[in-house]
Symmetry: C2
Subunit: 406 residues, 2 copies
Amino acid sequence: MAGRGRLGLLAVTALSASSPVVGMVGGGQLARMTHEAASGLGVRLKVLAASPDDSAAAVCPGVSAGDPASLADLRDFAATCDVLTFDHEHVPSEHLAALERAGVCVRPGSVALRHAQDKLVMRERLAALGLPCPRYSPVRTLDEVREFAGADRWPVVLKAVRGGYDGRGVWVCRAPGEAAEVLAAMRQRGGAVIAEEHVPFRRELAALVARSPHGQAAAFPVVQTVQRDGVCREVLGPAPGLDPGDAARAAQLALRVAAELGVTGLLAVELFDTAAGLLVNELAMRPHNSGHWTIEGARTSQFEQHLRAVLDLPLGTPRLAAPQVAMANIFGAGKCESAADVFARYVHVMAADPGAKIHLYGKQPRPGRKIGHVTVPGDAGDDLATLRARARRAASYLGSGRESDD
Amino acid sequence: MAGRGRLGLLAVTALSASSPVVGMVGGGQLARMTHEAASGLGVRLKVLAASPDDSAAAVCPGVSAGDPASLADLRDFAATCDVLTFDHEHVPSEHLAALERAGVCVRPGSVALRHAQDKLVMRERLAALGLPCPRYSPVRTLDEVREFAGADRWPVVLKAVRGGYDGRGVWVCRAPGEAAEVLAAMRQRGGAVIAEEHVPFRRELAALVARSPHGQAAAFPVVQTVQRDGVCREVLGPAPGLDPGDAARAAQLALRVAAELGVTGLLAVELFDTAAGLLVNELAMRPHNSGHWTIEGARTSQFEQHLRAVLDLPLGTPRLAAPQVAMANIFGAGKCESAADVFARYVHVMAADPGAKIHLYGKQPRPGRKIGHVTVPGDAGDDLATLRARARRAASYLGSGRESDD
């Protein structure tokens, strides 16, 4: 059971003569940016990627090709690592439990991770903890959806209990007919569904915290996220105009969730800011799009913090490195574009804004696909609207060749 | 001759369907940290490493093994890259000239780079430009050294014209007997020698600038460096208490050297700060130890800036990201230590100082070898002596297990 407790020096020494090996399941941009942090820390990162074209595969030498849904692939991969962690949630929890029984050090552990994989498990747990959530109910039939909505509470949000991300698996249904379509489609896929109230939020916030197996925890400043069609487009950090009491409550809530669920590594809590207070929308247990701004904006990036946490090293300070920061995602736009086309726009964006920090993930720019992000760190006294406009403009131009994607 | 002019999109497209490939000769920590920046920018970095144990080889997938002194190895490597650059100066300039004649895009070019490879060439050029240097003279015999020193100007500094670094190839000779020993040893090696006056400096400074093939240039804030036995141990940025006029003069001097010598990429100018003004000590044309602080301390790191410059992309802002920064190098100490021993000290250093940014290079910790560095970014109003003590303490403990290496 050594692998299930603290990592300790024994496990490290056993596998590596130099430094510990963190194995990340998933080869997307989160693994890519984690590799950048790992290189700095002298931590070796291995990646289990589904495809050699994955974002991390181009920059990380320790990439294994494998299926994150295959226990055999996971087991082979884990045998080469000191600790296993994730850049996405699409790993069967029964496989992770099997690995844990075999002594693999899985962080976050399978029991904690289920709350980021299964929306019903998450809702029930948070409700049991008395934490504020939207009203919800598992639903199988249209009658159950109708009953949930009552006479006047449409639209209703239906969510796939498992497998959703970036707006996929979430449907805002305005009327019973739309709900019926979703239920039929999900029935065909064999996936369970929950209904949630459609929350009239003022804005969305995200609270990002890290927790180590020791139980040490640290909270990054709470940020505002701006989504469109369920996809994060912008992040403003710290959340502008957020009441300090609300900011503290959001961070405390995330720290409590991390502790109660036994999270190891990062926990992102996506929140609705409503007239009635904060409500938990989603959980993620990995580096998160709402934390990309920390690369330049915080003294410890979320990627370094995740590595420290899963290795049970003391956490770094989450303090701001810039008083305010705007981040905008870059999305692919053109249908026949290559990464070289996107790169060719660098000259214009860099000439226009020498202070914009551009991150490209080396991904083929399919329409709507996140292929990078831009962070604009500001000084005290800078106008946040200007920082935000700069980030949006650079991101839009890189993605589409246009200065605005609105 | 396309490769000798601006990189242009043609060369990029020709070699890569995704993004340009920068080839770096040398696989040390400079290549490693350049890879971290390249990953962020979506630039592919390939490395020509002398050994698979080199620092960059563990983190960069595009590593070729080869001898930087072999034209055949350089040619094979260059054929896989859009632009060739360097993490050290130990590449024969005649090979680089041959590559340039064959159309390879070499940045900095062989003519510029000679000034960082050959101390006599550098001194003669700077003298011709009227730039302030220590008094110097090529010397072959002890009589010539005696003549240079005259009656009362001992000690005299003797330097190998080529091949020195980190204090190697530099000898402070207190008396003719010591000079005779150096000359005899250098005669055996077949290496030329110059004599320089022993400058009574108040402190050492470094001015780091970047220049692109377009001629765009940007200067980082001038820093103070603290050396021992010719090896950089600490950097304080910006140089504390430096008169703004002197800071501007130092930056202007470096910008002028970069322009006059036709440097592309980074140029570090090491300076003596004397009662009579600034004197140029050394030049380097690559990321430089005096610029490691820029990773956290400047809005654009020196590594990102070097990539932008050699790709002829617009340069990033060199502005401070923290008002003051202290950096200390980590040196190996114990004779029988491994990188794992150094890593095992992380827990203590990180617990003691959550704001210290630690960089380990994945190198075997041989005594006296640079194996990493620690940067402590400070806020306005922080006491620089405290920042410096924190950086030194963390670096010393990581290297030796002791809190002070004095």
